[in-house]
């Protein structure tokens, strides 16, 4: 699936988008998998309360299942307007 990062999450991970092969069942499992890979992911995902997730461009939550999802995006709380 495509995993996207925005704002300071993008800066910490070091890229805006990547393809990830995973068998993670939920967003939370995907995060654990990424954190165990490299320090930059551990830094990006250190405080989940400061993070939001969107699945296929809809806001979602960390418990949500990933089955059928093509695009996952992680970012901080939004600051538009």
């Amino acid at each position: 699936m495509d995993v996207m990062y925005f704002a300071w999450v993008r800066e910490r991970v070091g890229l805006p988008k990547e393809k990830v092969e995973t068998s993670a069942a939920t967003v939370a499992e995907l995060i654990e998998e990424l954190k165990s890979r490299e320090d930059r992911y551990a830094a990006a995902f250190a405080d989940l309360s400061a993070l939001r997730v969107a699945l296929d461009q809809e806001l979602s939550d960390f418990d949500a299942p990933l089955e059928g999802v093509r695009e996952v995006a992680f970012f901080p709380p939004m600051t538009g307007g």
Binding site: M4, F6, A7, W8, R10, A54, Q57, E58, L59, A73, F75, P76, P77, M78, T79, G80, G81
Partner: protein, 148 residues
Amino acid sequence: MKIVVQEAPFDFGAEAQAFSDAAKGAGAVVTFTGVVREADAGAMAVMEIEHYPGMTEKALEKIAAEAMTRWSLTDALVIHRHGRLVPGDQIMMVATAARHRVAAFEAAEYLMDYLKSRAPFWKKEILDDGAAAWVDAKDEDEDALSRW
């Protein structure tokens, strides 16, 4: 209903006039415009606005459609810029048209409250000494949603 997400400046006066002219049957038109202010601490040189192409448009469409239904608006408009802006630049505008003023005001405030916290935009302030910081979301903006 019109939703625009663009990097280029928009012409606030022309957009406001066109929106008002097209608002048939409406007695009340409200517009809100956001302008880049100086940073609270230090002098801001640039504000960079990042967004999530695709999701941004969907989120704004959803917020505007909800407002149209809830306040029986005759029309609604959202324009939001991204990219590099400087103090004094217009970041975004919303406009609402309704039969009565209370509906037009409430719907515009609703659009702004949701747009602030539910549309995927992120602001970064770059000061004139080069220091850069992402703008933190404010608790009061999240709290503002609870009134709707």
